[in-house]
Amino acid sequence: MTRINENPGGAGSAVTVRGLVKHYGETKALDGVDLDVREGTVLGVLGPNGAGKTTLVRCLSTLVTPDAGSALVAGYDVVRQPRQLRRVIGLTGQYAAVDEKLSGRENLYMIGRLLDLSRKEARSRSDGLLERFSLTEAAKRPAGTYSGGMRRRLDLAASMIGSPAVLYLDEPTTGLDPRTRNEVWAEVKRMVGDGVTVLLTTQYMEEAEQLASELTVIDRGKVIASGGIDELKAKVGGRTLRVRPADPLELRPLANALDDLGLTGLATSTVDVATGTVLVPILSDEQLTAVVGAVTARGLTIGSIATELPSLDEVFLSITGQKASAPQDARPELEEVAV
């Protein structure tokens, strides 16, 4: 495995996981996972279905007892101090954990009381959260009548009643439409703004890119890479140059010119007809200059030129050699960029 960021899990680490193991019979759901979440940051745990993400969250929230290894959350041991630990965490899972027969307000009030708030506190805190998550109008309706997005927002609000120091979001937008997904992202960003430490599991690269500052990639129960998002991208190495000719008709000649350039060790350029651009993988600034030179030498005019870091889909692909799930803009021709 690759560990780019050697954080010893000392000061400033809200979640410290070392050698965590959980086997279900022959299945190694977690096979020695190490990770750290620094206080006040979002760690994205990225991996395909069945990678062990949910088992990790269930171990860290005391729902599952690990077979070996250790995990500290806000200084509490998941195995030895489950009750104290439950006081400082919030959990929003893949399936909204709200009581469908209770209204939104009753759901929050009940959880407030279970968290030992006084009646008055539970009531005012519920109302505040309903307001904040734009659920005030629906507060008296049974949660079963809510839309998927409203239910997920109620679930997030329920996780926030106890003002947790650490929040686990287990695939918080799985099964939501893009608009609702954006709503949930906005809420998560607000929570992070309030200083909550978040461990986010996701199989969507875009989601990790939107929310997380650091990333741990897991596959078959093992950490296969970890570090800052930019670090991981840099590790993959290549950037992609997106060149748009001033005259759309010059798209094909432009592509030919770039192919003739024959930048060594790289995939050939590809034409993206939809956006009227040519994509060229490059490794260095010299190659960027060479591309611009070659285009000008042919008498072609560049309308715009931009460099792009590889997407997380590509990062995953290059580390594991297999495709991650739900690629939104996978460009298989970039496979050769792998280091």
């Binding site: 050698g19 729902l63 250790s70 104290q84 954990a97 093992k222």
Partner: protein, 276 residues
């Protein structure tokens, strides 16, 4: 990769010292009882069994079997009413107890149980709340059954004995609820809990002295009915409400209730805590 299991020092005390006070337990349990009561308001149909079953069963048994069994008892329908109404109290405690298993199982179908189990509450609170609500339903069902019983001619001679009988059936019902909580947490669907419940309840209820005296049953069946705790409960309720020897049956029922509870309650709580 390294899989060393180094155990970092605990920074906030070696052990889990976050004990929950008795007041805390009461607060948590009542918050969960409130949740289950709100369910009833939201879904009044869930009370059908507690409200209608006592009416339907009392009328059926009294008018269908009352004449012939009453004759065998040396009287008529009036005599059978005096016989069957206390017995039905035992039946009620079983049938209502079954509902706790299906409701509990349904809770696991969505994620709400995960939420409860990640809250800093005594894990028993979730189960105690179910039992409290089910006891309320049992009292409602018993009250309705007694009203119907009186309307069809049941003669309450001893109010103190009636209360004692209600208490005894509630005690026994509670022990049966623990069995159904274990089934509810172990079985895959609410339907299978219900199917399993009927499979066990029917022979237990009919193979007892609830509906008819056991004297006319074949010897092998009497062997079963004599040791069936439902017979003891029915006979004890009968003795308490209409007179006759009670002490033995009361103690047998209390013994069964205590035994079942002592065995099943820890299993239910443990299974609930460790369900993954």
């Amino acid at each position: 990769m390294s899989t060393t299991t180094l155990t970092p020092p605990l920074t906030k005390g070696e052990t889990d010292d976050a004990r929950i006070s008795l007041r805390g337990h009461v607060r948590h349990t009542s918050a969960l009882v409130r949740r289950n009561l709100l369910w009833i308001r939201q879904d009044p149909e869930s009370m059908f069994d507690a409200v209608l079953m006592p009416i339907v069963f009392t009328l059926l048994f009294v008018y269908v079997f009352g004449g012939s069994i009453g004759q065998a008892l040396g009287g008529g329908q009036d005599q059978y009413v005096q016989y069957v109404v206390p017995g039905m109290m035992a039946m009620m405690s079983m049938n209502i107890a079954m509902a706790v298993g299906t409701g509990f199982n349904q809770d696991f179908q969505n994620g709400i149980m995960d939420r409860f189990r990640t809250l800093p509450i005594g894990q028993g609170s979730v189960l105690f709340a179910k039992i409290v609500v089910e006891l309320m339903r049992l009292l409602i069902a018993t009250t309705i059954m007694m009203i119907v019983g009186v309307l069809v001619g049941f003669d309450i001679t001893d109010w103190g004995g009636l209360l004692a009988a209600v208490g005894l059936s509630a005690l026994f019902g509670t022990s049966i609820m623990w069995i159904f909580l274990v089934l509810g947490v172990s079985m895959k669907s609410a339907q299978s809990v219900q199917a399993m419940g009927f499979l066990v309840l029917m022979p237990l209820q009919f193979g007892s002295s609830i509906f008819a005296p056991t004297k006319s049953m074949p010897g092998w069946l009497q062997g079963f009915t004599d040791y069936n705790p439902l017979s003891s409960l029915a006979d004890a309720a009968r003795g308490l409400m209409v007179g006759g020897p009670v002490a033995h049956d009361v103690w047998v029922t209390v013994g069964w209730s205590a035994l079942i509870t002592l065995v099943m309650a820890p299993i239910a709580i443990h299974k609930f805590r460790t369900k993954s």
